[in-house]
């Protein structure tokens, strides 16, 4: 299957993707995410959402060694937890869960207030690519996964609470696990 990746692709450009023997092509229409999110939060009873604004240059750290020697930390906000753990609550739950890297995919669950979880429950790799990343490790593309992946339930309305409550807890785990790289997966 030939699948192309191209940097800097823009919306509105013609895409042609070969999936098996079927070639799909068409102009990608822009999705009005901002308006959708604003409506979702309105529906949930919140005042108008204030987007975070960052005007400074993003922090940037180049990779210090080859991927094949890197330990990757996976962080996902799809409300994933393992069977036996406490599920996430309805919203603004700033707790995190640690999912062992060898957890069977069938033992994963989701609890999230803001997306339709039917497919994520059928195949958690949709939102939490633990099995997919294990494949990259087996292939030798990645060195190894951190002993745990870390999850929380996104849609936390307050960026301040993310900064003050979620970030320190996650960062401590990543440091303790001595990860070399981190993959962040929102839903």
């Amino acid at each position: 299957m030939a699948v192309g990746l191209f940097p800097g692709a823009r919306r509105g450009r013609l895409l042609a993707v070969e999936r098996g023997k079927r070639v799909l092509s068409g102009v990608v229409e822009p999705i009005a995410y901002i308006q959708r999110l604003t409506r979702m939060y309105e529906h949930l009873g919140y005042p108008a959402y204030q987007w975070v604004r960052n005007d400074d240059r993003p922090p940037f750290v180049p990779l210090s060694k080859p991927l094949a020697e890197c330990r990757l930390g996976l962080i996902a906000s799809g409300g994933i937890y393992a069977a036996g753990q406490v599920a996430f609550h309805f919203k603004d739950d700033t707790s995190i869960r640690a999912i062992p890297r060898e957890a069977p995919i069938a033992s994963l669950r989701t609890a999230h207030f803001a997306y339709d979880q039917a497919d994520a429950r059928a195949d958690p790799n949709c939102v939490f690519p633990l099995g997919t990343l294990r494949g990259l490790v087996a292939e030798g593309v990645l060195g190894e996964l951190a002993s745990h992946a870390y999850t929380f339930m996104g849609g936390i309305y307050s960026a301040r609470r993310v900064q003050e409550e979620v970030a320190p807890a996650l960062v401590q785990r990543l440091i303790d696990e001595r990860v070399d790289i981190a993959l962040l997966v929102p839903v």
Binding site: F6, G45, N54, F90, C126, A182, L184, P186
Partner: protein
């Protein structure tokens, strides 16, 4: 997630964020962004489509390896195999959570106080 990405990268750990909203992520100024044109709830692709999920994962590690400067963006050239008008339908829980129900009640006009 953008807040977290900046905090983690600021501590010296290279990060990549896979997102359905690459334009928004770019505006929020992240180090590395992988864009996918998928609906919410499908950051890594269709359920059961291992090839699609693997393509996104490969793009993520490629971004980690090859980005040379902050603001790097790599878009995955996979089209969602469901028509957008079907795939992007809006979704809300059929029953609001207790907290949300309380907030919605609070937004209703209050009856005038009885004398």
């Amino acid at each position: 997630m953008p807040v977290l990405a900046r905090v983690i990268e600021g501590l010296g750990i290279p990060t990549v964020t896979v997102t359905m909203m690459p334009d928004v992520a770019q505006k929020l100024r992240l180090s590395r962004v992988v864009g996918v044109e998928f609906p919410f709830g499908y950051s890594f692709g269709m359920p059961g489509d291992e090839a699609m999920q693997l393509t996104v994962a490969r793009a993520a590690v490629q971004a980690l390896a090859e980005a040379g400067a902050p603001g790097y963006r790599l878009d995955v050239a996979l089209q969602w195999p469901v028509p957008t008008e079907v795939a992007y339908k809006e979704w809300q829980p059929t029953e609001p959570s207790p907290i949300v129900a309380m907030l919605l009640r609070a937004r209703q006009p209050q009856p005038p106080p009885s004398s």
